[in-house]
Amino acid sequence: MASRPGYDVLVVGGGATGAGLTRDLAMRGLRCLLVEQSDLAHGTTGHFHGLLHSGARYAVRDAEAADECIVENRIVRRIAAPHVEDTGGLFCWLEGDPDDYPGQLVAGCQKAGIEIEELSVAEARRREPLLTPRLGRAFAVPDATVEPWGLVADNAESAVDHGASIRRYTRLVGLGVEAGRVLWADLEDLGSGERERVEVNFLASAAGYWAGRVASLAGVKLQMAPGWGTMVVMNQRLSSSVVNRCRPPGDGDILVPVGPVSILGTTDTTMDTDNYEITPEEVRFIVTEGAAMVPAAAERRALRVFAGARPLYDPGHQHGASRTLSRSHMVLDHANDGVENFISIVGGKLTTYRLMAEHTADAVCAKLGVDARCRTAEEPLGEARKAPRHYSLGERLTAREQEAGGADADLVCECELVTRDMVREFIESFGTPHIDDMLRALRLGMGPCQGAFCTLRAAGILERMRPSGAAALEPIRLFLDERMKGDRPIMWGDQARQFRLNEIIYRDVLALDHAP
């Protein structure tokens, strides 16, 4: 097994927290390696509803979370502007909802410093014509939406700029622990199957709901209790701002406009599994609850469902929680479990990813005796350094037309307006991506046809640029399986027709099941 010189910190997990942590540590001058067993932002980060919380959702029951959210909301809007859309949010009180909640919401928001303003019903309806006639009161708050893949990609890029290394599709398969210290880590490249041992001075796990498995490699018991949340993606936006139900937070009470779609969420089912099966009952529940706020949700086309696991931690099993930073996330120092140089970050939410990274990096630096301040709240990411402009939905339309200069748009993915040039450029920069990586980077295949036409085109471009011969069909199969998985629980109406067309193309015409 090859061995290479060590790193100051090995970060495990390439979600928002892991990428943010790697960036933070790298900016403080530490040599970091980030390993992710899949693509960046492939796990929980890429499976959330897209809401950049104002904190209003927590203002009544969890003042600390509300405080953190509004502060981080303002920071993320600034440092990651191009990935944030300033949609604003509405809390909608419907006839029959608890009478006392609006008063508590306003008081909680004021206490946390979250701008909240009551709108007349007429004004709320002007802004959101599809709101239910049952609307009784409406409150505007500074919710926004955030596109997670771009956010993570920018964090990763910044980390690399500050000297960090990042390896995707690389799994941590073993840890060498001697005398209460992690000395080395065994990494497996999932593409080539090659293994490699790296020396590490410190181990920071930001593996989300996998944190228990990472800890077990070091002989540490860490009990995670993943809380699965199911979401339904609607084909078009049903609102232009985030719509929340004005009652104590619960299931199925939010509608988030993100990119060209609206996402209805969500549920909370605790289950320790990698492969959560979404049930039709859940979907029906979410759609019914969403339709209470926006009746069109029950009639319009749903294009996909997905579930993400909240990386919740079950402290009942844990004896050594080192420091409770807030009720929403925790930095666990495993010195309490007998491993001196190992920390896990658990819990939390995407809105506070940067703060979670900061708290973790603070803890790592304290243990390593590094005296450097966190700068991630001040220094913008990626494009935000040049033009701190928020995302707007029409951007792709305008861009396609300007690029085309009067010619055909040359689209590979028609639904999400992804061009051949975008795909080629991505393949050049990435190496040999899966088509699924193009989805996260470019939104390819995310639209209503769910890969019907772009899959073949993207595979063709990929094969031409990175010939693989007989293996060329594999990316197509992998991608379509994943797309179809998200379609099965909503097999009705327009999406059922779409699904059938896709089956005709790939199963009947191209006989993909019988191809080599």
Binding site: Q236, R237, V261, A296, R300, L393, R400, A409, A452, D494
Partner: protein, 412 residues
């Protein structure tokens, strides 16, 4: 005034949900194959729709001619052309409506002014330097076919046409601006044909249907006209008379565009839509019921082109059905979706070349049939077709009128 439904929330806007990307719309679009300036109905319709949310709308939607072939062909029920028309209006709302569009949409005002000073206006329009001025101001290329103003409106001439003494049926005639100001002969032919069929014709108060406003992106102006027409025509319909039109684009506007494009929904708009008929639609109905004898002859080689707006009515080709029964006629159908003109599309500078290319199959068809005349129910199409084919283009009701007049003269 009825409040128009908002841009992105009504049935038409949400019909974009039904698109399964099958591409049928792109295969029937007459503009897509002849230019690189237009990315096609699928792109501008259901695809772009998902990205439109109050932000600047792309401009290439303006290259959609609005012929509606996509909406007719869509097997999933997406109102592609209607989405495009709305996007174009939104674009002009954001960028301002160009002067040429403003002027071109005012067919009623232009007509009223022009016909008052017809000889002078026509001299101006037919005279080289005059066309240069028109090109500069209206953006209408000097080669584009422009109609001549008529001396004296159709409304004036209407009174001189004798009505049947005891009509079987009474209708209100919606003649449209073109008939009133440029081509009164079409109106005169229509009234002669209808009265001969035993139908009493009155000419109710009416205004431009608003289609030129819609296609030039001025929905506010179009809605005003729609309201005025509703007010003028509902009493006619409620008195038990049908409103009959000879321009299939005007009638489509009254029946379809008011609701689906302008978003004017409500029972009164449905009543208007249900009460409006195409003249040939009515005549064919009478013929089918055995109440109309068409015993006449027309010894001509005729190419019939059902214009795109007529096709959107979804009632087949009633004019061709009736012309086909005339003795001696050699009738062929064009078999193309659109001549290229599609209203004022073919009159706007940069679109003329496209309209000309779209029209080539129609011209070829006319040559193949060795046609002596092209029959078409829409005015702007006729003007365009005359240029395309070098043949006279006439409203089918003029041909029927001619056949019947001949029959009368020969004492049939």
């Amino acid at each position: 005034m009825s409040e128009p439904i908002l841009f992105n929330v009504d049935e038409v806007a949400l019909s974009a949900d039904r698109c399964i990307k099958c591409n049928v719309c792109n295969t029937v679009c007459p503009v897509l194959p002849v230019t690189d300036l237009f990315p096609g109905p699928k792109y501008c319709g259901p695809q772009a729709q998902r990205f439109r949310s109050g932000h600047p709308v792309e401009t290439w939607v303006d290259y959609c001619s609005g012929c509606g072939a996509c909406s007719r062909a869509c097997p999933s029920g997406v109102r592609v052309a209607e989405l495009n028309a709305r996007a174009r209006a939104r674009m002009f709302e954001q960028r301002g409506i160009p002067l040429k569009n403003r002027l071109l949409s005012r067919s009623e005002t232009l007509g009223r002014m022009g016909s008052k000073a017809a000889p002078l206006a026509n001299f101006g329009l037919n005279f080289g330097p005059g066309r240069v001025v028109v090109e500069r101001i209206l953006g209408v290329p000097r080669e584009a076919p422009l109609p001549s103003f008529s001396q004296g409106s159709f409304r004036r001439r209407f009174r001189r046409i004798p009505q049947p003494e005891r009509p079987n049926l009474r209708v209100g005639y919606f003649c449209g601006c073109t008939t009133n100001y440029y081509e009164p002969r079409v109106g005169e032919a229509a009234v002669r044909v209808l009265t001969r069929a035993g139908i009493g014709v009155e000419l109710p108060e009416q205004h431009c249907c608003g289609l030129p406003f819609i296609s030039n992106g001025d929905f506010k102006g179009a809605r005003k006209l729609a309201e005025a027409n509703l007010k003028a025509l509902l009493p006619v319909i409620r008195s038990g008379k049908r409103v009959v039109a000879t321009s299939t684009s005007c009638s489509l506007t009254l029946k379809h565009e008011y609701r689906e494009v302008l978003g004017l929904y409500g029972p009164e708009w449905e009543e208007l839509a249900a009460g409006v008929y195409d003249a040939f639609e009515l005549l064919r109905e009478l013929a089918w019921q055995g109440e109309l004898e068409l015993d006449a002859t027309l010894t001509q080689r005729v190419l019939y082109h059902g214009p795109c707006q007529l096709r959107s009515h979804g009632f087949g080709f009633p004019a061709a059905d009736l012309l086909g029964t005339l003795g001696g006629i050699e009738l062929a159908e064009s078999g193309v979706e659109c001549c290229g003109s599609a209203g004022t599309y073919g009159f706007k500078g940069d679109k003329r070349e496209i309209a000309f290319r779209v029209g080539q199959p129609l011209a070829a068809r006319a040559r193949e049939h060795r046609a002596e005349v092209v029959a078409c129910d829409s005015e702007t199409c006729r003007w365009h077709i005359q240029q395309l084919t070098g043949l006279p283009a006439r409203h089918p009701i003029e041909l029927l009128d001619e056949a019947w007049s001949q029959a009368e003269r020969t004492g049939d």
